[in-house]
Symmetry: C2
Subunit: 550 residues, 2 copies
């Protein structure tokens, strides 16, 4: 069976900064989310299993989607039949695709291994040498040992599988994050080439706001194939980024150019490029689009564009000497990972009905030579651009489209013709500020926030999603509370720790009942982003002395 | 009687950013606050009453303070006997003192007129032409009419004096604020002379953090006699200012110098001057000092100095090219308004045991010519400065000391030898971001915050103070919720309004019982600080449709 037909509605951002769907719709959506059965999880294989996925039937063979397919414009409706992509596109990077897939599957496998392993351990718990055998099993299957205390106490009141589950999940996350910062597996620090290219196009910083929906968490490293160290990613629900915060960032970047000549000197005529990436679903446009905008593509695009204009206007109104910024709006089809790009004219105006479509270009240039394909893309971008479009912007967009072709192929071939999880399949909630290491789709439900008071609507939606995914089966909701800090600033670490603890108390207070039942566990972490180091665990609620709220 | 002997403990900031007094102490302190009796309020006279206050007995004639006086160092213990100041100091500005006093007494009188007027109105409320007579009285005594609805409904369930009180207080505050922004009564916008002087001393911005204690609310306009438009005031509990936020401000100022040459070009060798003003009480040092530091002067000074060093280190660590800042630490005696200044050496190091004392200098230079007095001050500042102190810093400090002499005289003469309110006498709570117009001592309990979650300890202390001042007499706590915004930034007003409403909901939730009993009322206001306009009232809980929480 193709799991994407589970008809789970996407609720990731039923509300957020400025978005206000009706409460009824939000609750209703959350209830519709068909829960995953913990026992039925299929752990992703540690080794490639291309043959399995490629042989899956295409979505076009299934009845339920047929009616909605007919309503879609041609280039959005096309769902690729896996059998036809044996011939790769001339411009796709197959070795990178392999590396990305290995990383993705390895991380997913580590998370998906937890439930089957704990099931086995649970079955053992009446054995006399239980602790020892459980640890051997955990070491073999998960790569780490479990806390002896929980295992040793199993004879008294039974095995506390909720705590074990949360503990294992937190440990898996911690190891993934530390590996990410130690090894740079997605080569996000190899920034020189893209930095130079970006400046040659007339931009000194690319600041991207994808929607905070977990299905866009891989926007930089996978969808656009950019080194994460070379761009700024700042996700917001419904792409409604914080204008004031972005103005502050602009000032910081300009100041650095003036003072340090980084990335170039202030007199170089490059601009700050602000990009918004909204999203839609070609397969189920009315349910799996952006929840913050009621799955209305047009609304999502307009809202992103309006926010971009507000930012530009804020800069132009607040600073002299012709201060301005460049703007760009990108749409992402979360079913295929294909992008469509709305090119701006010289004043940053964009026509929402006019875009260049990477999916269509993939097919149109599939049988050409690399040179001809590249030329075809450039011409298509030019054709989609307003007359007064900036030449550098056209070149940048052509590059983004070309990069995206690899991701289109990645999804078509390596993921079996499409993502198995159109709806929610997150493993944990990420709450606070940071999470640079989360570069995989649908692994994490994000709630970027400073306080529960400001982020309560997002947290509520998250909890309802995990009520369906976990709580309904008796599994707890794992929440990572995180604040990154600048270690160069004295006292910053202590303030980050204090902030994490305060947030944790507010969280435990808001979700009191789940916490009391052991159905919501938290791990508090901080990270010194100046040092480039891994995570520092402050505390966890699965420790003998919990983080708070119990 | 001298009201300062009411022995109210100062609790304004029993905790805050980083300060952590024991909860027991905080609660205990709050309970000790001896409440003011509404009926017993003495409204400040609208016209000067110098003769009344000067004739009051000196504190030195009263027994209770004698023991603690002996423990004080000589120049802190001296409490001036009013009779001796008939001869003003040669460097004080008597006409400014008169203007400042007229403004202060006018504002206080407006607030203090509310309770007596409502008492009179209450006495009328069984009369047949009640509404009309009440409005005449209100117009005559308060300068505005009351809401007809509340008056008209008095025959049903009695006069709702709680709502009337909150309504009148909010209206009085609103009128005071609008007058402040329209008229600039403290001439805070006359900045040119001080700007030029400051730059001649080697500084391009003076950024002052007084403690957020209401007894330092007049630090800029009164204590230091600086135009508020020429300095940045950012108050924090216990002076524990936000290092990250101040680094951002530094970047903004540097960027403006680079881009716009304001206030001077970036290549001018001036520095950003960060000043911390801690406080202490010479009359009751163990109870009326800084509550955030347990009334321990040394601790308050050390904490301020440490935060200053953290800020400098953050700048030096985070930016290249010899980036640094200048630091200055000032102590304020909240009983006399005299300052003591700790001068830094070339590296910004300060000796907490070494300071120049304005109170002592007032007396020492009292009988000299203006020139000789000025010279005496300069020499005293030089003597108190480290060998490597910056010449510009010495000149600046000498100016601050000279300015402060006028305030010392203001307190000695015009207030009857000292402040009548050593403890709490605030009229309302100010919650949120803004409040530039609050330039009077002890008028307002401040809680600068973005969310209740972050500012809860300060709000709790504030509510306990007003429980003593108001609630214990049946009067509600008036809370002004305020967020300033930059009107140049599109959408900023809407976000400020939304933020005020969110904060109001959280506030009404935290103090549910008081709200339900009509004992906590809120007015929500926003202000466009780019436009320099007055307040915009968003809503109030005294309106027929309250702001929330009822």
């Amino acid at each position: 069976m193709i799991r994407r037909h589970a008809h789970r509605d996407n609720l990731i951002w039923a509300s957020g900064a400025g978005a206000a769907p009706s409460p009824a719709a939000t609750v209703g959506d959350a209830r519709q989310a068909s829960p995953r059965k913990p026992g039925g999880w299929e752990p992703a294989p540690a080794a490639p299993r291309t043959e399995d996925t490629v042989s899956r039937p295409s979505v076009q063979d299934t009845a339920p989607l047929a009616p909605s397919r007919e309503r879609r414009p041609p280039h959005r409706a096309r769902r690729h039949v896996p059998g036809t992509v044996t011939q790769p596109h001339p411009l796709t990077n197959r070795s990178t695709n392999e590396q990305l897939r290995t990383y993705e599957q390895g991380v997913r496998a580590a998370f998906d291994q937890i439930v089957p392993t704990l099931k086995q351990i649970s079955a053992l718990h009446c054995e006399p040498d239980f602790t020892q055998r459980a640890q051997q099993l955990a070491q073999r299957e998960l790569g780490f040992e479990l806390p002896n205390g929980i295992l040793d106490d199993a004879w008294i009141a039974g095995l506390d599988l909720r705590r074990l589950y949360a503990w294992s999940l937190f440990e898996t996350y911690r190891r993934m994050a530390d590996d990410f910062f130690a090894r740079d597996p997605l080569r996000g620090r190899e920034t020189t080439a893209f930095d130079e290219f970006l400046q040659s196009c007339g931009f000194h910083l690319m600041d991207i706001t994808p929607c905070a929906d977990g299905r866009l968490a891989h926007a930089i490293s996978y969808v656009l194939r950019l080194p994460i160290g070379a761009v700024r990613r700042k996700s917001y629900a419904g792409t409604l980024f914080d204008v004031e915060e972005t103005v502050e960032k602009w000032v910081e970047v300009e100041h650095q150019r003036f003072r340090e000549g980084r990335p170039n000197t202030a007199d170089t005529s490059t601009r700050y490029l602000k990009v918004v990436m909204y999203h839609f679903s070609s397969l189920d446009p009315e349910h799996q689009g952006c929840a913050a905008h009621g799955s209305d593509d047009g609304l999502a695009a307009r809202a992103g564009l309006e926010r971009l204009h507000h930012f530009r206007q804020a800069i132009e109104n607040s600073f002299c000497c012709g201060a301005s910024v460049a703007l760009l709006l990108i749409g992402l089809d979360t079913d295929t990972d294909a992008i469509r790009v709305h090119l701006p004219d010289e004043r940053g105006e964009m026509d929402l009905n006019q875009s260049v479509d990477a999916q269509a270009l993939y097919d149109q240039t599939h049988n050409l030579t690399p040179e001809a394909a590249r030329q075809g893309i450039l011409e298509a971008v030019c054709a989609a651009a307003p007359d007064t479009a900036d030449e550098g912007m056209v070149r940048l967009v052509a590059r983004l489209v070309e990069n995206n072709l690899s991701q289109i192929e990645y999804v078509r071939t390596l993921q079996g013709g499409g993502y198995p999880d159109a709806g929610h399949a997150e493993r944990f909630m990420a709450v606070g500020i940071g999470f640079e290491e989360i570069q995989l789709r649908n692994l994490t439900y994000f709630a970027y926030l400073h306080t529960v008071e400001e982020g309560a609507p997002d947290l509520d939606v998250g909890c309802r999603i995990f009520d369906g995914l976990n709580v309904s089966h008796g599994l707890p909701i794992p929440v990572v509370v995180r604040f990154d800090y600048h270690g160069r600033v004295p006292g910053a670490r202590e303030r980050a720790v204090e902030r994490a603890r305060r947030l944790d108390r507010a969280l435990a207070d808001r979700f009191r009942v789940r916490v009391q039942q052991g159905l919501l566990h938290r791990m508090l972490v901080v990270r010194d982003c100046d040092a480039g180091s891994g995570l520092e665990v402050v505390s966890t609620s699965v420790d003998p002395q919990p983080a708070g709220g119990h």
